[in-house]
């Protein structure tokens, strides 16, 4: 390791973090997929995670809403530690929105029903109110006219915007995005990124795994680079792209830019 490797990755500056991960490890069987992850996410902070395929980006953000379990270290979300015997995992998941690469809309439900399902069953919101909220967010992602259709009748970009709206309907405190645009045709990427940029402007706390470096530059407070299950480098976008410190970061950036 060279001498100017960071150790705090900008975590020290964060006070009152909404997510705090310390000395976290995860294994898939024998495979050490996440190694000594330390990350604090501030309220309203926006973090972009990039790194080569298989480096553990998805696994890291999936640990945050416990779609994957970690085996060592600590993850604290909004003051509650994620442990094995956690009773209210549903409560935490309701506060953490997640947008997937392949949208994962519920194909047997109309768009509105996709959006109202969580509020009605988890938040116990009356149906009428949930539908109003749903229409509000559908307008926000510019797709209100499709409300009565089924997901199978929408384009990929439209489906991903619906998926974002579905998460927003739960009024989450944090939004996680796992490569939200990488399954989309180029002409649809922008419509999804625009929605995400709107969201950023409104002060949503976001953790985004993406290779859209334009998005990272204009929206992120911090960009993280992961490789072989470790956070190798983290910095504000300007320094991250202009003066990458680590050789692996330099190599990665030269490949994708």
């Amino acid at each position: 390791m060279n001498s100017d490797v960071q150790t705090d990755f900008g975590n020290e500056a964060i006070e009152d973090p909404i997510i705090e991960i310390s000395a976290m490890h995860k294994w898939f069987g024998e495979f050490h997929v996440l190694q000594d992850i330390n990350l604090k996410v501030g309220r309203q902070e926006r973090i972009v995670i990039c790194g080569p395929s298989g480096s553990g980006k998805s696994t890291l953000i999936r640990c945050i809403n416990r779609l994957e379990e970690h085996q060592r270290g600590q993850i604290v979300v909004d003051g509650i530690e994620l442990t094995n015997n956690i009773k209210n995992i549903e409560k935490i998941r309701a506060e953490v929105g997640m947008v997937f690469q392949h949208f994962n809309l519920f194909p047997h439900l109309t768009i509105v029903d996709n959006l109202t399902l969580g509020p009605i069953w988890v938040r116990k919101v009356p149906r009428k109110e949930a539908e109003e909220t749903a229409m509000h967010y559908l307008e926000k992602v510019r797709i209100a006219e499709q409300a009565k259709k089924y997901p199978g009748q929408l384009s990929g970009g439209q489906q991903q915007r619906v998926a974002i709206a579905r998460s927003l309907c739960m009024a989450p405190k944090v939004m996680l995005f796992d490569e939200p645009t990488s399954a989309l045709d180029p002409e649809m990427i922008k419509e999804v990124l625009d929605v995400m940029i709107d969201l950023a402007r409104e002060g949503m706390t976001m953790i985004v795994v993406t290779h859209e470096m334009g998005f990272a530059k204009s929206v992120a407070h911090r960009v993280l680079f992961m490789d072989y299950g470790q956070i190798v480098e983290a910095n504000n976008p300007e320094d991250f792209f202009n003066n990458p410190r680590h050789d692996r970061t330099k190599l990665f950036l030269s490949q994708i830019l």
Binding site: F106, P107, G118
Partner: protein, 365 residues
């Protein structure tokens, strides 16, 4: 795109070659396209030639529709269909008291009406459940008596109402049980999982007939002196337990066909296990398994005829009883053809019912 297409002039009016249209074209492409297709066609035509005319002769030309059994025997020519109208009430209702047979008749009509009503999606509301509950109570009173109707022992029930009773209740109870077993088999708790596996494998490894025997012969041995459980109920339970094991495996197949992303999306919204299953996974998985489930339901429906071996007079047994009557002995072909038709109509209805539901549920994924 479309503008480009409409602007284009057709190159020239082209007609398809004569050999590919018309009767000749159809014959050539469908029946005589190769030498072995031609051979097969000729063989089939020959078989039809030797079998169909004699059957038509027997069933329609020389048949009797109103004659008594004696007249049929004396004429000794075509089919004696009169065995059906002459015995229809016994075939349909068995030993149910003759004067009261309108009651099971009405119960069957009610049941069929409810089934048809449930077929339409616009009727799928909570009220449907109440209609069924009321319908079941009314059917029960009609069959058993009460409220001014003379009581009828369940030992006298028989024929079509018994067959429908055993199958409709068997199937509606077996389906939820099968779903629970399928979910149990996927449970994270080893105890539940192995319990379900053992149950499913045990039941599937045993023929229905032996379950029926056990329910009627072995099971009463374990009951305390003086306690008896209704024979129909015991047969019903055996049918439910048997069918549920098969349903469970089909449903499990559907569950395994579900993408992980659906579970993850549901979980990340904060839905718990029960909600995830009920709202997201089962509606999709059950839709996938409609065709194989219907196969199971149809064979379960036909298997109810096995209750004859524990001396219940279902549709098949009442027919056999009629054939035991000296006047009608020897006309089994006619009687069995009729019973086959009744079964066919029911099974065909079942599968068209399922096709309809499949269409109703189609959302284009």
């Amino acid at each position: 795109m479309s503008a480009e297409q409409t602007d284009r002039q057709p190159v020239e009016e082209l007609k398809p070659p004569a050999a590919s249209v018309g009767v000749l074209g159809w014959l050539r492409s469908n029946l005589f396209s190769t030498w072995y297709n031609s051979l097969l066609t000729l063989a089939v035509v020959y078989l039809l030639w030797v079998s169909v005319p004699p059957f038509v002769q027997w069933a329609f030309v020389e048949s009797f529709w109103t004659a008594s059994g004696k007249e049929c025997l004396e004429a000794d020519s075509g089919a004696c269909w009169s065995i059906i109208p002459n015995n229809i009430r016994f075939i349909m209702f068995g030993f149910y008291p003759y004067q009261e047979q309108w009651r099971p008749g009405l119960a069957v009509v009610l049941l069929v009406g409810l089934l048809i009503f449930s077929q339409f999606r616009r009727n799928w509301k909570k009220s449907l459940l109440y209609y069924w509950l009321v319908g079941l109570v009314v059917m029960g009173i009609l069959m058993k008596g009460g409220l001014g109707l003379a009581p009828v022992e369940s030992t006298k029930w028989g024929g079509l109402p018994l067959t429908l009773l055993l199958s409709v209740f068997g199937l509606t109870a077996a389906y939820p049980l099968g779903i629970v077993l399928a979910l149990g088999r996927q449970s994270r708790l080893p105890a539940i999982r192995s319990l379900c596996v053992v149950y499913i494998e045990l039941i599937r490894g045993v023929p229905l007939i032996s379950l029926l025997f056990m329910s009627s012969v072995v099971f009463p041995l374990f009951l305390p002196e003086g306690v008896t459980v209704n024979k129909i109920l015991r047969a019903q339970v055996a049918i439910i337990l048997f069918t549920a094991a098969y349903i469970a495996e089909v449903v499990r197949g559907g569950l395994q066909g579900m993408a992980r992303g659906q579970y993850e999306a549901a979980e990340s919204l904060g839905l718990n296990y029960y909600q995830t299953m009920r709202l997201i996974i089962l509606p999709q998985a059950l839709k996938i398994v409609i065709p194989p489930s219907v196969s199971i339901l149809i064979s379960a429906f036909k298997d109810t005829s096995l209750v004859v071996i524990i001396a219940l007079y279902d549709l098949l047994k009442t027919t056999q009883a009629v054939l035991g009557n000296p006047e009608w002995m020897g006309f089994s072909a006619e009687a069995y053809i009729f019973i086959a038709l009744v079964y066919f109509v029911c099974c065909y209805y079942l599968s068209s019912f399922s096709r309809k539901i499949e269409r109703e549920l189609d959302t284009g994924y």
